[in-house]
Symmetry: C2
Subunit: 143 residues, 2 copies
């Protein structure tokens, strides 16, 4: 089975021009051409899925390219690639932890506005949290 650039772009929720840009940056190694046109094959999706993840965690294009270059060098770079993957895995874990903290803040705000709307004014909830001068405070009121 083969796929056009538009079909792949739709699957990845990006513009075809974005895929061409990725290609020009060296992020789409080994994609076949037929009459000059890119033809994506099943084997390409293996990498596209990883690329998709790397993009989602905001890994810079330069770093992704570095990974691709290592992969192209073959087995001699296995350890280096492993190290990069471990580093990125830790970054995802950190990002998830960070977002969970943000979620708490938004859940607090949800509660805050629920109470304020009930009362018709913010004054009722304005001083529920003791605001110490740090950004690390965790104050989720129990329902």
């Amino acid at each position: 089975m083969t796929y056009s650039i538009k079909e792949v772009a739709d699957m990845m929720n990006v513009e075809p021009s974005t895929l061409r840009y990725y290609d020009s940056m060296g992020l789409l190694p080994g994609v076949k051409r037929v009459n000059g046109r890119r033809v994506f094959e099943d084997k390409d999706f293996k990498w596209l899925r990883v690329l998709n993840c790397m993009k989602k965690i905001n890994m810079p294009i330069d770093k992704i390219r570095a990974y691709v270059k290592l992969a192209e060098k073959g087995d001699s770079t296995l350890q280096e690639r492993f190290d990069m993957i471990l580093e990125q895995k830790q970054i995802v874990l950190d990002q998830i932890a960070e977002l969970k903290d943000c979620l708490k803040e938004f859940e607090y705000k949800e509660w805050y506005y629920t109470e304020a709307i009930k009362a018709g004014t913010e004054k009722v909830v304005e001083n529920v949290t003791t605001c110490s001068p740090t950004l690390e405070v965790d104050t989720i009121p129990k329902k």
Copy 2:
């Protein structure tokens, strides 16, 4: 207790120039001035913590400013702000779910390289996953 722009910048892990930029964009309402200098008070940290979260989930500055403007209008905008918070909460939840999928991919890659390094070559693991032409596939090998 009061804090200089540098002190607040350090707490938020940003440059003072970034805070000045946020201020110029209307993201730091109600910050006092003494001889022209910004002086941050305890009350400001309440908002800084929320701002911090909004930045972390990549909420665009324009949207954050819209929220600030609503807050400045007072109680008549409670419902609108509640709706915005709910929307952002859903965005965080989606982002967390997305990152968890990425984590699986990196965990698979970790396993992949562990096996490849053991064998000295990628050939051993290259075709472990059946790669269907979708980016939604989930293939985590059980240890």
